[in-house]
């Protein structure tokens, strides 16, 4: 019984990784390639690791499997985002079948400022909260920001 679960997990995982590789080879542009490589790759690796956990049935191995899966799930999307974003803003052309692109004219390559397109609808932006807004040290530092010197002096 266990052998069947192990085989199913590892074979599905390997098939997914193969599809990910095929996706990199076949898909037409950078963002779609990132879709194939990271997600199918992440799920494929996770499935293989789960198969390994079932094969060994050991607490130490299972703990490591959980750690591996967690870290892959945490890091794979970040890597995909960084590569995709860099490629997009450097100007790598999108596939001609792309039906919509709302970001291109909202990005300013000089200042790296990205408009949301909601400025007029919802009024001025909310104050940015960093999760530490209540921290008194940070608030004090804001008050003592150096003032700009006069243009003449």
């Amino acid at each position: 019984m266990i052998e069947w679960i192990v085989s199913a997990c590892i074979l599905t995982g390997a098939a997914l990784m193969f599809l990910a590789a095929l996706g990199i080879f076949r898909l037409p542009d950078l963002p779609t390639r990132m879709h194939a490589s990271t997600k199918a790759g992440a799920l494929g690796t996770s499935l293989i690791m789960i198969g390994v956990a079932f094969a060994f049935m050991d607490v130490a191995v299972t703990a490591r499997v959980v750690a591996v899966v967690t870290f892959i799930m945490l890091t794979a999307p970040v890597a995909a985002h960084v590569i995709g974003r860099a490629g997009y803003f450097v100007g790598v052309p999108l596939w001609e079948g792309t039906v919509k692109d709302v970001l291109r004219d909202k990005y300013d390559p000089k200042t790296h400022h990205v408009e949301s397109g909601l400025e007029e609808v919802e009024g001025p932006p909310k104050p940015i909260t960093y999760g530490m807004a209540e921290c008194p040290v940070l608030q004090e530092r804001d008050e003592f920001e150096p003032k700009k010197s006069d243009p003449g002096g």
């Binding site: 963002p31 879709h35 997600k39 794979a76 970040v78 039906v99 692109d101």
Partner: protein, 157 residues
Amino acid sequence: MIGFLWNLLLALAWATLSGNFSGPSFLFGFVLGYGLLALLERELPILHGYSRRLPRFIMFLGFFIKELVKANFKVAFDVATPLWYMKPGVIALPITAETDVEITILANFISLTPGTLILDVSSDRRVLFIHAMFLYDEDEVIAELQEIERRVLEILR
């Protein structure tokens, strides 16, 4: 998050005190700790809402794995067949997540579902720009993503 750490600590304490470091013993300690924290959360503001958040998190994991597998099959089908069924495009998703942590976790989960890739967040943090692979119906894609956002924020807040 702090509640979960306390729960792990209590489970570890149970495993240590009973001198039995096996998986089931740890799990039993975790369940006992969960019951204890559920009783304590009314007294301690730092634990507030923990007993409701853990079942929601497990429900979310189930929902997320279902979405992950479903969408993986969709992408795999498109890669494996010779014709392209995809309609890629970049869309804007208005978000209600505000802090750095919320936006990061939300973006990570959205990026993990195949067919959606985060490209950027607008400088005023109100909109996520997403590269979607199957953009047949934009409203439907946005509704699905907002469902993920609602569930993620339910756990974090």
